[in-house]
């Protein structure tokens, strides 16, 4: 499910074509690119800016503003761990430290084999079943140190 396609200019053009008549099409296009290719690279920025008649600086400015968009490809899996207050109150910092140790990477880093990127996220809206995490699009509540090993195993597969 975490499989991301390699960037393909022809396909990218058809994604842009499909969405460009929306009111305010830039975020829907960027969301689609990020989802499909795992990043929004220079080539994509060039293509989008040409299609929407925007400057590359404008598109780049948007890409760099939002946490969800990445200039370079991330790991095959992305593990987001909530670091916000409700999860802190429920022992989330300890769980987060244990995840860093289990994966051997820090927050914001990608493992050297490219399997996983570890990211902090601020609130998944699961504050009453905290601590929380999200592996790709799958949400995980009541995170505990016991739940880390199976997640790491899944990531390593």
């Amino acid at each position: 499910m975490a499989y991301r396609a390699a960037f393909d200019a022809e396909e990218a053009a058809s994604i842009i074509d499909e969405l460009k008549d929306l009111e305010g099409p830039l975020l829907p296009i960027l969301n689609a690119f990020q989802e499909r290719y795992g990043h929004v690279g220079d080539e994509a920025v060039r293509q989008i800016s040409a299609a929407l008649n925007l400057s590359r600086a404008e598109v780049y400015g948007v890409v760099s503003f939002y946490h969800d968009y990445h200039k370079a490809p991330q790991g095959r899996h992305v593990l987001k761990v909530c670091r916000a207050e409700a999860c802190q109150a429920a022992g989330g910092d300890k769980v987060a430290d244990a995840i860093e140790a289990a994966l051997g990477i820090k927050f914001g880093e990608t493992s050297s084999d490219g399997q996983v990127t570890l990211e902090a996220v601020y609130c998944l809206g699961l504050c009453a079943t905290a601590p929380s995490a999200m592996l790709d699009r799958r949400i995980i509540g009541r995170m505990s140190e016991a739940k880390i090993a199976p997640i790491v195993e899944e990531i390593r597969l």
């Binding site: 960027l30 939002y66 969800d68 916000a84 609130c123 809206g125 504050c127 009453a128």
Partner: protein, 519 residues
């Protein structure tokens, strides 16, 4: 056929509800049991999620928290007949957590199939919209104004006044925008209603459209809510098929279309003007006001931008009348508010009640204190920009003005509970850190202030010129509070200053210490 309810709400899904539903389906097949699985919303008792319910002759009987692997045992125990089991809860509506609530906005949530329009109508759905069509714009606005409804996103601005401004502003196109960028830690009411009763938001937005002559709506939904995005999109599709949305809303001749737009992980886009910029495809930076969004909002057109709960509260107001809604509450805070309790909490979840309950009643009586069993030390009310309240302020009633009088805010009504192991100096540092990460960068007090604040609190933690640096933080907070463009920079001082004021013992008692002693 026995109907079994397995919630699709994120609380339940994050704790295995999808696996449980699959397990039940497989076992029912194997054992030749005639079971229909309905994926409902959550009742809001999060500690019991995934909470399964089975329809019996004595009504619905709940079991929870169920874990993947539990289903075979449940079936063996006679779960389908509502028999005894260690995890049997009984009739959910008789559970004290639910029995003590006043559910107006969330009256269907957890009870109905969120994607069934028949269920929706059978439980009072569309009554508000039908009456709105009969009333017409001016009288809809009058009902909403009479109800005393105020913005549930946090600002508490009277909804009727906002709607009236848009109604009276002439334009060829107007918009309704639902702010579903619920980024505050400790809040999940928007998510729960979108997952558990999405037609309620759709109905509320259609009512807002009729009230203001707006023909297009957007739901700006955060990317961290994958379940809500999916449910909301399906519900819009069904509403279009049923003629609730489209060129003629319920045959009224008035058009209203709706679109879900997914955000991209920027907390500041919960601020209404940066949300509008984001919808337009720009960096989500805060706008100067005036012009107000009601005059010049999305794409420069008059725009109603309301929080999800505000909009979802209007169907009930229109159905029962403004006076009915206004009867609940206290002071200038009318109606009900869905309070969300999370963090280190024993019985957390969503509790909808009329304004006026005290903080202590909610934290101690309703929620039973902490999950760790240790004493409650602090609660943060209103998200990362809300103040930390000590137990000594637990007599504060839930009311916009009462919270403001205690230098706090209700915000989106999220409460995060901390036990006595919390380090308030660390929480103050985090408040600045979060502001630095999420600042849109447009105004200096927020962009620079957050970073300097973070550095200064670090110095206090290290024991460096403590009294002097606390004074510096206070001065900085003053600048941020009055000099920032929006609530991100403007309200970050709330958690910081409340931590310093109410928990001075955590800041080395404000005294100078030796650097070594900080360890």
């Amino acid at each position: 056929m026995t109907r079994v309810y397995v919630p699709l709400d994120s609380f339940a899904v994050a704790c295995g509800a999808d696996e449980i539903a699959d397990e039940l389906k497989r076992l029912a097949n194997e054992r030749g049991l005639d079971v229909a699985i309905i994926r409902n919303g959550s009742r809001g008792m999060a500690w019991l999620e995934p909470m399964l319910e089975v329809e019996t002759i004595e009504g619905r009987i709940a079991y929870g928290p169920i874990e993947p692997g539990d289903v075979a045992g449940l079936l063996d125990a006679g779960f389908l007949e509502g028999r005894e089991h260690a995890k049997r809860i009984g009739r959910p509506e008789e559970h004290p957590f639910l029995a003590k609530q006043t559910r107006l906005t969330f009256k269907r949530c957890g009870i109905t199939d969120p994607l069934s329009l028949d269920d929706y109508k059978a439980h009072g759905g569309l009554d508000g919209l039908k009456r709105a069509i009969e009333l017409g714009a001016e009288k809809i606005v009058a009902e909403v104004t009479d109800s005393g409804l105020r913005g549930r996103g946090g600002a508490g601005f009277p909804t009727g006044i906002k709607w009236n401004t848009v109604r009276q502003t002439g334009a060829d196109r107007k918009y309704i925008v639902a702010n579903a960028d619920e980024g505050d830690s400790g809040t999940f009411a928007d998510r729960m209603i979108m997952e558990g009763d999405p037609f309620c938001l759709i109905e509320g937005m259609a009512i807002a459209g009729l009230a203001t002559h707006a023909t297009k709506g957007f739901i700006y939904l955060r990317s961290e809510y994958p379940v809500a995005i999916e449910v909301m999109k399906k519900a819009i599709h069904r509403a279009e098929e049923a003629g609730i949305l489209g060129p003629s809303v319920l045959g009224s001749g008035k058009a209203f279309d709706l679109e879900v737009r997914v955000g991209a992980g920027a907390y500041v886009c919960g601020e209404e003007t940066s949300l509008l910029d984001s919808l337009e495809g720009k960096r989500g930076q805060v706008r100067f006001k005036p012009p107000l969004p009601a005059h010049k909002g999305l794409f420069g057109k008059p725009t109603v931008i309301n929080n999800v709960i505000t909009l979802a509260s209007t169907p009930e107001i229109l159905a029962k009348g403004g006076a009915f809604y206004k009867d609940f509450g206290m002071g200038r805070s009318r109606g009900t508010i869905p309070i969300q309790i999370g963090g280190n909490v024993r019985h957390g979840g969503l509790f909808e009640a009329a304004f006026g309950m005290t903080l202590g009643e909610i934290v101690e009586d309703v929620c039973g204190g902490t999950a760790s069993g240790r004493p409650v030390r602090a609660v943060q009310v209103g998200g990362p920009l809300g103040a930390y309240f000590p137990v000594s302020l637990f007599d504060t009633p839930f009311d916009y003005e009462a919270f403001a009088a205690k230098d706090g805010l209700i915000g989106h009504a999220g409460i995060v509970i901390f036990d006595d192991t919390v380090d308030m100096m660390g929480q103050a540092r985090f408040a600045f850190e979060f502001c630095a990460i999420e600042s849109c960068g447009k105004c200096t007090p927020c962009r620079v202030g957050a970073v300097r604040g973070y550095e200064t609190v670090k110095k206090i933690i290290d024991g460096e010129r403590v009294a002097e640096n606390i004074a510096l933080v206070e001065d900085l907070c003053n600048t941020m509070k009055f000099g920032s463009l929006c609530a991100l920079g403007g309200f970050t001082p709330y958690p910081v200053m409340s931590a310093i004021r109410h928990f001075p013992e955590d800041f080395h008692g404000g005294r100078e210490i030796m650097r070594e002693a900080a360890e």
